[in-house]
Symmetry: C2
Subunit: 423 residues, 2 copies
Amino acid sequence: MAVRFAQRMNEMRASEIRELLKLTQRPEVISFAGGLPAPESFPVEELKEVTARVLDEHGREALQYSPTEGYPPLRRWVADHMNERFATAVAPDDVLITSGSQQGLDLSGKLFLDEGDVVLCESPTYLGAINALRSYRPRFVEVPTDDEGMIPEALDALLAREGRARLVYVIPDFQNPTGRTWSLPRRHAFMEVARRHRIPVIEDCPYGEVRFEGVPIPPLKALDEDGLVIFLGTFSKIFCPGMRIGWIAAAPYLIERYVLIKQGADLQTATLAQMQVAAYVENHDIDANVARACEIYRARRTAMIRALEREMPPGVRFTRPSGGLFLWVELPEQVNAPELLAACLEQEVAFVPGGSFFPNGGHQNTMRLNFSSMPEERIDEGVRRLGAVLREFIGRGETGSKVPKFEGPKVQRLEGSKVVGGN
Amino acid sequence: MAVRFAQRMNEMRASEIRELLKLTQRPEVISFAGGLPAPESFPVEELKEVTARVLDEHGREALQYSPTEGYPPLRRWVADHMNERFATAVAPDDVLITSGSQQGLDLSGKLFLDEGDVVLCESPTYLGAINALRSYRPRFVEVPTDDEGMIPEALDALLAREGRARLVYVIPDFQNPTGRTWSLPRRHAFMEVARRHRIPVIEDCPYGEVRFEGVPIPPLKALDEDGLVIFLGTFSKIFCPGMRIGWIAAAPYLIERYVLIKQGADLQTATLAQMQVAAYVENHDIDANVARACEIYRARRTAMIRALEREMPPGVRFTRPSGGLFLWVELPEQVNAPELLAACLEQEVAFVPGGSFFPNGGHQNTMRLNFSSMPEERIDEGVRRLGAVLREFIGRGETGSKVPKFEGPKVQRLEGSKVVGGN
């Protein structure tokens, strides 16, 4: 008689990225597989200073339980910051502080999804969202998506067809994995469709402020007049990810339910961490910090695009993002990215095969490259190796099956291994 | 056309305790309703010192993403500490660091429960566990429980009857809400039943080390030879709750699945907070800290018991715990505790009516009193007020219906109110 698990466990898989990162921990490997912000941009000294101040002035409060909703000064700052930065109309009470924006995804699944309900998403979409929502056993419907974002007419038709549609999940700015940003007309058209169908929209916005050039485009939340948009924000990319502070900004009828769910999930986000972040943003210039990070990322993004232009064989297409951490590569149809990865790992370069960003599979000829976490020389060298392996791979043509098949991540843990990394 | 929520939302209610605490925030109110550790016991200065050290020595690492499993030195410390303290045989790889032990409950629901599955629990049991597990829509079966703990013969019979039993949830040490501790023979007999039915057991142990007198009793985890016991531990009661660091200790076949689920839920627990706790336990004497807290709680527990003996009318029974934060009061059958609370709030004293600790309702003549969070004089005064209201209440006899009915917590948020407090 074996211990029985919930049915959802049959469908849950380890994040391919986190598992892959186990194989790429050796410093020799040039890994474009992770999603780590550059640690050079972390304000370590400033955090040390504000922590001492918080503990001196409010030590006991900082170490005690606190409201599920979040630390009031931080909720207030988030609302003000969003309104100033994004022209939204968010009140402090519309903000729930979460344990990273990943938690916002999990809480959203719990709030909206019964087994068999439908989640509509971009194609491809963020793997971590697929993993979070999958535990509520929905059906994913991928909405056709082009360089301007999700195609509203396609969404409209799918919403008309799918009676159990409960949620649309999108990342309009510098999307993970493609790096694409939705145009403003597309955003308006999208909101028009969402409004007509009265469907809640999760707007996941981790990279909205990580823009290297060009003019910011208002988030969906700023265009939402019906309380349908649930905005997920995070300090991970504008401050640091290791404190796990994110937020949900949504209409009060939604926030009151999210609060209920969060109570059951983890009572509250850490008091001290919230107070540290609040003290940081009150006493230091977070915009300057973001600008510093963007400076680093812009140079790396440019280096990667130049290297790809130089090293990729004909038939390879890739995006040229103006922000975020990732770009997206489409290889010639016949190339199988998981097999290519196996060959690349022998040359000590790594990426994430794109197939896992499609909840319903396929698209094995795609890959995601991270450009934020290593200096330009390493990017140059890594793309050079990648290009060499790819050219050899294509040259072999139909003999690709000689390459040892990459088995994909297993559920079992590798002894002594570490699973590090973002998304 | 209204936005549709998942069916679980029909059943989820705000924690009665957290909602109550909103009414008891005024400093005039003597509240026995919370579950807050005494902030006097928090090692604020030590934490300041170790934080500076962590940020000086490992600043970038502390602010970066880190493994889902947890910070390796902290996992190692937890394993060593449990083995030394509880005579368990836990390996570092058997430990998953969680965002408080509340998260361990939520992850457990996700791992084990499909809708309609059965959770067996003590009667009464921890309200936060009911709330966490309820979102997976199980049926709760309360197992008869006496002063020595859950009654093994009753559990055996219920497990034989309930084909969909998936999980037993228990708190063998200084239980919340009753303060009861299971005897050693009872623990052995319980494990024998669990083993025969091969049913996973969640052993929630937040108070195991918060013992004021007498000899510690081995946890179920120390008696488990079959990898069935999932031990939930926390730093909330032995260090401080505001950092939200807890852990799950379980067999590898379970931990690997918990890691998967945690990835989807929040990627990882905060890196910095884990490193702060690890640095604290490595450089300071946590046992001395626990002893200091126990000293405070022992005096408060004793003060509360003396006051109850003095102030309670005949027909009132209460537990006399040797540890933990709570004791449990059974009022005469005809007294309705929610109505009593309404009368008490007029006299500015508060408690938690016991009914909400029974997942299937009833037991309206019970209440939970917290003794950890206020000094002895306040305890004396609060119990005096409680006794006076109760005597008047009983004196009125069947006219109790004249007392304005307490409506119970609402889902809606009170404007400007704060929801603070543990469990």
